[in-house]
């Protein structure tokens, strides 16, 4: 019970909080900084593709140059249509990153909201919400998205993301619900209740920070799944269509040509992997930042 050194007495300025401490940790965590750099580059690429493409035009094509391998002039080679593949991959970031990010945000919002309400209030609210989730679980992601996209008037990044969110939020809800259920019974929740804290405050301030870790990990990995899901939808003919450029489309076209032109698969897949890796690093760092025992 001895005081562990009074050295820090000097630097003690004020009361820290969960989020302040988390941010202090993140600022110096190399994994977070790497993940953040990847994210910033990808988002910048999505916003200003022409800068990254170095003036190359993805739609300036020459069929005679079809499927040329990488060269000094065309770093990533040429695609099936004879367009510069480097410019295409760069321009593809916009839709792919947008779909990945939008879908994951949507999934997190719905999953966390529904999951925490069901887990915290229990009883009939839980029964109703859990059964609704089960109904959605029964519908395969692609089948559901297929129906929804077929009836939608236009297919854009927004509608594709919406379709993926509507049929992809259930795992997140299950994860949040089960952690909230286990944390709801914790003594510190009881303690907060005994202090007279309101349900909202208990849920947001006490339970959620403790319950988010599993769903954050899931979400960061799911980004990749959603980006490739867009590719699969495209393959079925209901995703984005030809003039649009996305990694999913590129990977799709490339898979039948992998024997003769592996570079067509390699480059968009590389970009996709790096993006997903960036997300996972961010997710891991965030999880550690929110858990004082791991900091």
């Amino acid at each position: 019970m001895t005081e562990p050194a009074g050295v820090e007495a000097e630097e003690l300025v004020g009361q820290s909080s969960v989020w302040a401490d988390a941010w202090k940790y993140l600022r110096t965590n190399p994994l977070f900084l790497i993940g953040l750099t990847v994210m910033v580059v990808m988002v910048a690429m999505a916003l200003f593709p022409s800068v990254f493409a170095l003036g190359a035009d993805p739609t300036d094509c020459d069929l005679s140059m079809s499927r040329r391998p990488p060269s000094a002039e065309h770093w990533f080679g040429m695609d099936l249509q004879g367009c510069d593949y480097y410019a295409n991959v760069i321009y593809g970031a916009r839709t792919s990153v947008a779909i990945g990010v939008l879908t994951v945000i949507g999934v997190l919002v719905i999953g966390v909201l529904v999951g925490s309400l069901a887990g915290y209030f229990g009883g009939w609210a839980d029964t109703v919400l859990a059964r609704i989730t089960d109904v959605f679980f029964g519908i395969p992601l692609f089948l559901g998205a297929l129906v929804l996209l077929t009836v939608s008037a236009q297919r854009s990044v927004w509608t594709v993301s919406l379709a993926l969110v509507v049929f992809g939020w259930m795992t997140a809800m299950r994860l949040v619900r089960s952690s909230v259920v286990s944390i709801r019974g914790a003594d510190y929740v009881l303690a907060a209740q005994a202090l007279g804290a309101s349900s909202g405050r208990i849920l947001v301030r006490h339970i959620l920070p403790n319950a988010l870790a599993p769903v954050l990990i899931y979400a960061t990995i799911a980004v990749g799944t959603f980006i490739s899901a867009e590719a699969a939808l495209t393959y079925l003919g209901i995703g984005l269509q030809a003039p649009e450029i996305s990694w999913g489309l590129q990977i799709n076209v490339a898979q039948s040509l992998i024997g003769s032109s592996p570079h067509l698969l390699f480059f968009p897949a590389l970009f996709l992997s790096v993006t997903v890796l960036g997300f996972i690093l961010l997710g891991d760092a965030l999880r550690d930042a929110l858990d004082p025992k791991r900091r």
Binding site: S16, A197, R201, N210, P292
Partner: protein, 555 residues
Amino acid sequence: MSESPPQSLLQITGLHIEFSVDKKWIPAVRGIDLTLGQGEVLALVGESGSGKSTLAMAVPGLLAANARVSGSIRLAGIELANADEKTLTGVRGDDVGVVFQEPMTAFNPVYTIGWQIVEAIRAHRDVTAEQARERAVELLELVDMPDPATRVDYYPHQLSGGQRQRAMIAQALACDPKLLIADEPTTALDVTVQAEILDLISDLRSRVDAAILLITHDMGVVADLADRIMVMKDGVVVESATAAALFADPQHPYTQSLLKAVPHLGAGRIEVSDVEPPDPQPQMPEPALSFREATIEFKSGPKSTFRAVDGVTLDVGPGEVVGLVGESGSGKSTLGKAAIGLVKLTSGSVSLAGTNITRLSQRGLREPRKKIGVVFQDPGSSLNPRWPIGQAIAEPLALHTSLSKEARQARVEELLDRVDLSRTLRNRYPHQLSGGQRQRVGIARALALEPALVIADEPTSALDVSVQAKVLRLLRELQAEQGFACLFISHDLAVIEELSDRIAVMKSGRLVESGPAEQVLRRPAEDYTARLIAAVPVPDPDEQARRRELRLAEA
């Protein structure tokens, strides 16, 4: 330890155990020599972190993967330190039986206890399933399990805590081990059940010829069980002597302080009085907390209900400390929760300082809750692990006052001073503090709003004896200073005695007795209270032996 017993069974020499934590080697056991003869009972006593469990678990090689062992552990001539897995598997369960602290978690819930005992037997003996089962029934009989032939097919959850621990001991004895290691075998049990299990262990000494290595933090438990006692602190043995010598004349200052820290129930004779206890003194106009015929029921099945609290009438006057004692399942904690509206009464009423809160909603409870502080049993789990403790202490202020951030911080500093914690700890997280420090944080939070009533639910039962003594002293000082009323809930009569003006005893949801502390402890009106008092282990071998005889004579 000058001469080793004639037939030494276990010989440990120069044992060092270290754990690798964050790439550093942290020593847990630092150079221990120990000999244990056949049929001897050796007790290892120490507080958490003293290395006593690590030492014991090193014998059957059950340490975590990040441990490093040097030195020698010889059991009947076989070297076990750094032995290969094959040697160890042969020894575990066969030559060495282990009884764990928590029988509920040490048994696999999906198999019957019979199945698990049979598994232990068949791992080492070439017998048929029927023979093994017969042996299992025999073993259960040996440990005085009631109706062993039926109980053998029970699942762990169908047994009571004491019965589970008996089954655990039976399993440990399955292959007639030479050495029985009991790691805090009674810590998780109620005091009357603890007394039964200790009687059993004491009795087993004559029934089986195993040497027993008994690990505990409770001096009272070992008083008349052990032949020799070794006191451990920070990985070294500070004192080693025969039980009689150690209790009569402890040499090392640490042993002395440990003995002194054990809360003593007054040593007076305990007998059931014939006189009816006088009516509780007329209460002051408005008790801080008042239960009237409080009954609480829980749904235990689709149509059945379980009555946790049954018609309890109890008052806690302003500034009065009432100790509520009972064993697990007596409903004492439920009653404590009802006092703050965390559990609703089925019938009867509960009021706080005259305000009837029986039917108030969560919102309606906000106002009365301002005047109550709650200290929970396990400070580790009652503080949000993701909040710095300063924020935790400030929470009641943020909820119920309109203090500015600066004013709140000033108040937090003041509170940290009050509970003797350094202000620099404010930005620490709960896991970075010791158990005692955490409980001080819990107390600071409970006192943040200067409550008129404090509900303390087993506030010290998760703490080491010496830390418990300090926390109790702090609570007593604070109570004297601030004069809050207190409902102090505990299973430990000795702890209750330290603080309480009045004592209320609960059993199976009913209030069996209540009255001034002195009277309840010295002249209890109920048999149950007397039994409860007699079961409290005292760190005095003679007194313990006397009580054991009394108990056995009664049974």
